[in-house]
Subunit: 70 residues, 2 copies
């Protein structure tokens, strides 16, 4: 299990009409971090995840889930 966590950050970001750059700045990370998360290259810390859920105005459970438990 390289990393079983999936997310729908890209979906919610587009829904809000944010660019990766904007989203990155809103939660104080770099655009690279947003890209990596959206591309499911790595799973964020709970801190980054909470910030994402907050600015994307959705629950952590809807944003992140373990593959196979959706």
């Amino acid at each position: 299990m390289k990393h079983g966590v999936r997310n729908s950050v890209k979906v919610f970001r587009k829904e809000k009409g944010f660019t990766q750059d904007q989203l990155a700045e809103m939660i104080s990370v770099t655009r690279q971090t947003i890209i990596a998360i959206e591309k499911q290259r790595y799973e964020p810390s709970i801190g980054t995840a909470i910030k994402l859920a907050t600015v994307l105005n959705c629950s952590l459970e809807k944003l992140f889930w373990i593959e196979g438990e959706e």
Copy 2:
């Protein structure tokens, strides 16, 4: 902000009557990881957080929050 994320893992673990050892095994991490999380020494990945919320039978939002936003 060393790490602004707080958690109530210890509270929920005790509520369920689990030992650190049991909890660790349930989510496939070492006891050290549980201790470090409970002692707020570091914030877990979203993957570890989801597993904790699952076995402790509570929402991520109740288990983890950003300090000052409780």
